[in-house]
C-alpha cells in the first residue's frame, strides 16, 4: 500500500487565510522533508524535519514520529504560496539517501 498519504489533495484559500497540510506515513523512517514544487516542476526544500517543530517565516512544520505524521502550517497565505506541496519520507543507508514522496497537496490562494 501507499507509504505516504497527503491530505487534502487540493485546497483553495482566500489570501490571508491559514492552511494546514497533513502527511501520514505507514512505515518507520529516518526523517521527513517538505518541498514546494513550482508550477514548472522544480523543487524548493522547505523543511528537513526528523521530529518536533520547526519554523521558517510563515511556515511551520511539525513531525510526530511515533504517530507517523507530519504537518505543514502556512499562516496568512499569499497568492505566491500557490503550488504543490510535497512531503517525503527519507531513508538513508548503504545505498545513500532515498526519498519516498507523497502525491502532494495542490494549494491555490485567491486574491
Amino acid at each position: 500500500g501507499q507509504q505516504v498519504q497527503q491530505s487534502p489533495a487540493s485546497l483553495v484559500l482566500q489570501e490571508g487565510e491559514n492552511a494546514e497540510l497533513q502527511c501520514n506515513f505507514s512505515t518507520s523512517l529516518n526523517s521527513m522533508q517538505w518541498f514546494y514544487q513550482r508550477p514548472g516542476g522544480s523543487l524548493v526544500s522547505l523543511f528537513y524535519n526528523p521530529s518536533g517543530t520547526k519554523h521558517s517565516g510563515r511556515l511551520t512544520s511539525t513531525t510526530v514520529i511515533k504517530e507517523r505524521r507530519s504537518s505543514l502550517h502556512i499562516s496568512s497565505s499569499q497568492t505566491t504560496d500557490s503550488g504543490t506541496y510535497l512531503c517525503a519520507l527519507e531513508f538513508y543507508g548503504s545505498s545513500g539517501n532515498k526519498l519516498i514522496f507523497g502525491i502532494g497537496t495542490l494549494l491555490s490562494v485567491k486574491p
Binding site: G40, S45, S95, G96, F101, G104
Partner: protein, 115 residues
C-alpha cells in the same frame, strides 16, 4: 557553494528516438547521485542512485539506463524512447557521510515530452 546543473531544460522527442539527459554537480567531491522521475500528475519516484564513479544501481525498471562517467556527472539515457517516458526528470545529490547526510539537493529538472 555547491551547484547542480541539469540539461537540457526541456526536450520534445519522437517515440523510438534516443535520449540523453545530463547532470553535473560542482563544489562537492564524491557525492551520492540520484535520478528521480515524475509522470504528469504522478508521484516523484527514484529511478537510479550512484555512490561512486562507474557504479549505478537501478531502483525502478523503466527501460532507461544511467551512467556515472565522472565523479561529478550523472547521465540518464535510452536508445528507444517510449510514450510512457514523458514526464519530469530531476537529478539530486547528497553527502556520502551518513552521519551528516541530512537531505537531498535537487536540480531544476528536465521536462521530457515524447510524441
Amino acid at each position: 557553494a555547491q551547484t547542480i546543473h541539469q540539461w537540457p531544460v526541456a526536450e520534445i522527442k519522437a517515440v523510438g528516438s534516443p535520449l540523453s539527459l545530463g547532470c553535473t554537480i560542482k563544489g562537492k567531491s564524491s557525492p551520492n547521485l540520484y535520478w528521480y522521475w515524475q509522470a504528469t500528475g504522478g508521484t516523484l519516484q527514484q529511478l537510479f542512485y550512484s555512490i561512486t564513479v562507474g557504479q549505478v544501481e537501478s531502483v525502478v525498471q523503466l527501460n532507461l539506463s544511467a551512467s556515472r562517467p565522472k565523479d561529478d556527472q550523472f547521465i540518464l539515457s535510452t536508445e528507444k524512447l517510449l510514450l510512457s517516458h514523458s514526464g519530469f526528470y530531476l537529478c539530486a545529490w547528497s553527502l556520502q557521510d551518513r552521519a551528516s547526510a541530512e537531505t537531498l539537493y535537487f536540480g531544476s529538472g528536465t521536462r521530457l515530452t515524447v510524441l
